[in-house]
Symmetry: C2
Subunit: 130 residues, 2 copies
């Protein structure tokens, strides 16, 4: 039962992630810190993001882009990425348990979890550019 140690830096970074709903990257977190007039060492931001992830306060998302994104929503959910504008939205409809069971049968694996990245065009992009 390790107590969570929220330093000034970690708290500031956690706040940004919790106030952001667009799954920011580490670079975007640094940018938003700077907008607030704060500036921490490069490594501190990465260390803090890892710490907060390890403590279960945030989640790291690897969606196949170059950089990881971070999410204050820690409950199991999936993501959808717009092919046009790059935005990342939540997918709260659960992956069907029956599919995971079928995959377990097919592969012989004991399944822990599944991550889905859906790709498409968001409503906004569809409306604007024909």
């Amino acid at each position: 039962m390790n107590k969570i140690n929220l330093t000034t830096q970690r708290k500031a970074i956690l706040d940004i992630i919790q106030q952001s709903h667009d799954h920011p990257t580490a670079a975007e977190v640094i940018e938003r810190l700077r907008e607030q007039g704060r500036q921490f060492a490069y490594g501190t931001v990465y260390n803090s993001l890892r710490y907060l992830t390890d403590m279960g306060l945030i989640r790291e998302l690897k969606l196949g882009e170059a950089a990881s994104r971070y999410d204050a929503r820690t409950d199991e959910h999936q993501h959808i990425v717009c092919r046009r504008c790059g935005r990342v939205d939540e997918v709260l409809t659960d992956i069907p348990a029956a599919w995971l069971e079928a995959v377990a049968r097919e592969t012989g694996y004991a399944i822990d979890r599944a991550q889905a990245v859906v790709e498409g065009v968001c409503a906004e992009c569809r409306n604007s550019g024909k």
Copy 2:
């Protein structure tokens, strides 16, 4: 209808991907080329992998690990990764279309495709380690 130009290098790399069933990374491709006594420039391997991917002869997989993996199987399918030994196996059971439809309704996106990475422990690892 662009003709595919398979140079010596591209052919050798394609052969390795087609003969491998473990979804090798670029580094592993280089390693296997060396085992065959062949050695191409670093950049040539990356260029060739990109070319073969663009031509649709192979697929690039971004499974959330640091490095991309490559797959000679180009039909739509998913992957499962062993948490213990790191092996990557095929998942041929399709993601349910009903789930994708539910996601489209939920998000308002026009969905192009979905990639799932399932994580678990493979049969072999389960048998060996307790």
